[in-house]
């Protein structure tokens, strides 16, 4: 056990940490923004609109993230037509491929989480909104979505953590994230134990930070559910 090699190479881990946080936060934000309209359409639109959304969700939930990433990174590059298209400058970059795959992947899961939450909106809330004369959009904005987000939060916090852990796969396509940093240190000094233990510590700290922040959000969002005087 020799942790001095970790101290000497700490800057590699810090770069890795930046890359991991960048990838995960952008992917989650993009995924969430896309997932909200998709989830609304999934619960309200007609079959023709629903079908492609269903197919999209089915594909991304039905295949491993690693396979999706290989498809995007190595698979797309196989076609000359694609390589000559305007999209290639983006897909040429490993970062973009990772962001693209991660965003769509988390979007598929988040769509399902929000759809489930919307579908379990109590009838009373909808009836009350209609009785108050709200338009569909206003009802969605003021009643259905805020109510659904509250129910979706516990499941979504899991999705955030899964995305963080899933992002370790980025190291397979040459991106130096936390795992990538660990692989470099491990192979350079033949000491996988120290290298990956350090990576594990990084992930744990991030995970606990996420859990803590979600906890704070829960306290804030579920205030109305607390017994009077308890907070």
């Amino acid at each position: 056990m020799d942790f001095s090699i970790i101290a000497e190479n700490f800057d590699i881990y810090i770069d890795g940490l930046k890359n991991t946080l960048f990838l995960v936060s952008i992917s989650l934000a993009a995924g969430l923004i896309m997932a909200i309209p998709l989830a609304v359409l999934r619960t309200s639109a007609g079959k023709v609109v629903q079908a492609p959304i269903r197919a999209f969700v089915y594909f991304f939930r039905g295949t491993p993230l690693l396979v999706q990433m290989f498809l995007v990174y190595y698979g797309f590059g196989q076609f000359d037509v694609f390589k000559e298209s305007i999209f290639w400058p983006f897909f040429k970059e490993a970062y973009f491929c990772a962001l693209f795959t991660f965003s769509l992947n988390t979007c598929a899961y988040t769509t399902e989480i929000i759809r489930g939450a919307i579908e379990t909106t109590p009838h009373g809330e909808i009836e009350a909104a209609r009785a108050a004369g709200m338009s569909t959009f206003l009802m969605l904005r003021r009643i259905v979505l805020p109510s659904a987000f509250r129910r979706a939060l516990p499941a979504y916090s899991n999705e955030i953590i899964f995305m963080l852990h899933g992002s370790a796969l980025a190291s397979v396509i040459t991106i130096i994230d936390i795992t990538g940093a660990a692989r470099i240190v491990s192979s350079r000094y033949y000491s996988p134990y120290e290298a990956f233990l350090t990576a594990a510590a990084f992930y744990m700290v991030i995970t606990f930070t996420i859990v803590f922040l979600i906890k704070r959000l829960e306290v804030h969002w579920y205030k109305h559910l607390q017994p009077p005087g308890s907070t």
């Binding site: 190595y74 590059g77 040429k92 397979v172 040459t174």
Partner: protein
């Protein structure tokens, strides 16, 4: 454990003492691998073939010795030598410090350099300046990774892959500009194939022993110093009389012996 070690070393002592008694090496059994093309492989007919095999036969001839080839899996190839299943290993075994603790080596019989590969015409002449800022693909945790990181880590973007094949895919996709790997692996695995037709070797042969070891040698038991001397003489003989070059040209279009 200690007793066992004492027992083993005692056995080895007696074995060593026994074999030290005059052996004329009229017959030499040689361990080969048979699963490392183009150096050593099995023909559809079941015959062993390859660079190592031809070298073994040529060395036998030069020594005036009858040789028998014994195919042995790689992971057991040194234990089987120590267990006297054969007397020498000719299996592209790199001469490394770890192995020297177990076996002795003859001089090298080939030493293939590492080389860079780039797209044809992408770089006029190789220099640190010319490759500055390029991305170079290597297989992770290889001697090539270490060499590149140690020597060019600040000048180029090092892209590390799990396998050599992934690096080939990415240079064809245009994500990386260059590759660094063993020249034979690059030549047989990439440049001679259809995907590699637009690419070429660039820059010098890289073979600094600090990173790349001392080439492949013939492994023998430590006590058989006389056999090592015979092999070394035979290597010199086939190098001198053109036999070596004839075998080399059969498999490769460049110098595999090194400098």
């Amino acid at each position: 454990m200690k007793k066992l070690l004492v027992l083993i070393s005692l056995c080895m002592f007696f074995v060593a003492a026994g074999s030290a008694m005059a052996k004329d090496w009229k017959k030499v059994r040689i361990g080969v691998e048979g699963a490392y093309p183009p150096f050593s492989y099995v023909e559809p007919s079941g015959e062993l073939a390859g660079f190592d095999i031809d070298i073994a036969k040529a060395l036998g001839k030069a020594m005036g010795t009858e040789i028998t080839l014994v195919a042995q899996d790689w992971d057991g190839i040194i234990p089987a030598l120590l267990a006297k299943k054969y007397d020498a290993i000719i299996a592209s075994m790199s001469i490394t410090e770890e192995r020297k603790k177990k076996v002795a080596f003859t001089n090298k019989y080939y030493n293939t350099p590492a080389k860079f590969v780039c797209k044809k015409g992408a770089i006029d002449s190789f220099s640190r300046e010319a490759i500055k800022g390029k991305s170079v693909g290597v297989q992770r945790a290889t001697i090539h990774d270490k060499y590149l990181t140690d020597n060019y880590g600040k000048d180029v973007k090092v892209k590390r892959y799990g396998t050599q094949d992934e690096a080939y895919l990415d240079i064809v996709a245009g994500r990386i500009d260059m590759l660094l790997a063993d020249s034979i692996a690059l030549s047989d695995g990439f440049l001679k194939k259809d995907e590699g037709k637009d690419y070429q070797f660039i820059g010098p042969d890289l073979s600094d022993p600090k990173w790349f070891g001392n080439g492949a040698g013939i492994a023998i038991r430590k006590e058989d110093k006389d056999l090592a001397a015979l092999f070394n003489k035979a290597i010199d003989t086939i190098r001198a009389d053109g036999t070596y070059k004839a075998i080399q040209d059969k498999y490769f279009d460049f110098n595999v012996y090194g400098d």
